[in-house]
């Protein structure tokens, strides 16, 4: 299961809407080992394409080093599909290279309704998981 705050969910959706009809992509970083996404990092889609996304290699190096320095890891890797459903494509599955991450897919094909789904992709196997939106993550700890 992916637990994510409403604010982070809304930031991902806003990024996907902003870059439509191109695919948007990015990362949610969180403390190593917690599985808790905390920091929103929108990334450039170097492919600038409605059917493909790819992180810019230099931006990726900078962001990955920053996560290392802060003892964070990519808890969520997200991208949008702009004309198809929010499900990993064959290319997504083939290229998935962070077995520990939640792969979040957003579809902006409908102008009014946004699909938001999460998957694990390990060794070519895809498994959808429930998404729990927490509107007050800090409040839950009281």
């Amino acid at each position: 299961m992916l637990k994510i705050s409403e604010e982070l969910r809304d930031q991902i959706v806003a990024h996907a809407r902003r870059d439509h009809p191109d695919e948007a992509c990015g990362v949610l970083a969180g403390p190593v080992g917690t599985g808790r996404p905390e920091r929103f990092i929108p990334m450039l889609n170097a492919a600038r394409s409605p059917t493909f996304y790819e992180f810019d290699s230099m931006e990726q190096l900078r962001v990955w080093r920053e996560m290392d320095d802060r003892d964070e890891e990519p808890v969520v890797i997200y991208h949008s599909h702009t004309a198809t459903e929010a499900h990993p494509s064959r290319t997504d599955i083939k290229l998935a290279s962070e077995p520990g991450a939640h792969y979040v897919l957003v579809s902006t094909r409908d102008p009014d309704e946004t699909e938001f789904r999460s998957f694990r992709i390990v060794d070519g196997e895809v498994e959808e998981e429930p998404v729990l939106i927490e509107d007050d993550v800090l409040g839950d700890r009281h």
Binding site: Y53, E54, F55, Q60, L61, W64, L95, S97, P99
Partner: protein, 91 residues
């Protein structure tokens, strides 16, 4: 010549879980051969049959993407740090 190679999570099965390993080589291609001698199988994840870098693997020499340097033929020096990151990409 000691080069530090930083290994991404997905390739640590080849390095017994190590995040960084030492190697040597006059070029990146030589380094990969050297690494493969102790971490069998890792080289083919990095280069194709012709010895060119795999399309969806990013390799950095210190702070530069080696695609903007000499690719697999990029020369290395003692003390260099080579960072390997799988490209994050899809359709």
């Amino acid at each position: 010549m000691a080069i530090e190679a930083r290994i991404p999570t997905i390739l640590r099965s080849y390095t017994d879980g190590a995040k960084a390993v030492e190697g040597s080589g006059a070029t990146l291609a030589d380094l990969f051969v050297d690494l493969d001698s102790r971490h069998a199988g890792i080289r083919e994840r990095l280069v194709d049959g012709d010895g060119a870098l795999q399309r969806f693997v990013n390799v950095y020499l210190n702070d530069e993407d080696v695609r903007f340097l000499g690719g697999a033929e990029t020369p290395l020096s003692d003390g260099d740090v080579v960072t390997i990151l799988p490209a994050v990409a899809g359709g």
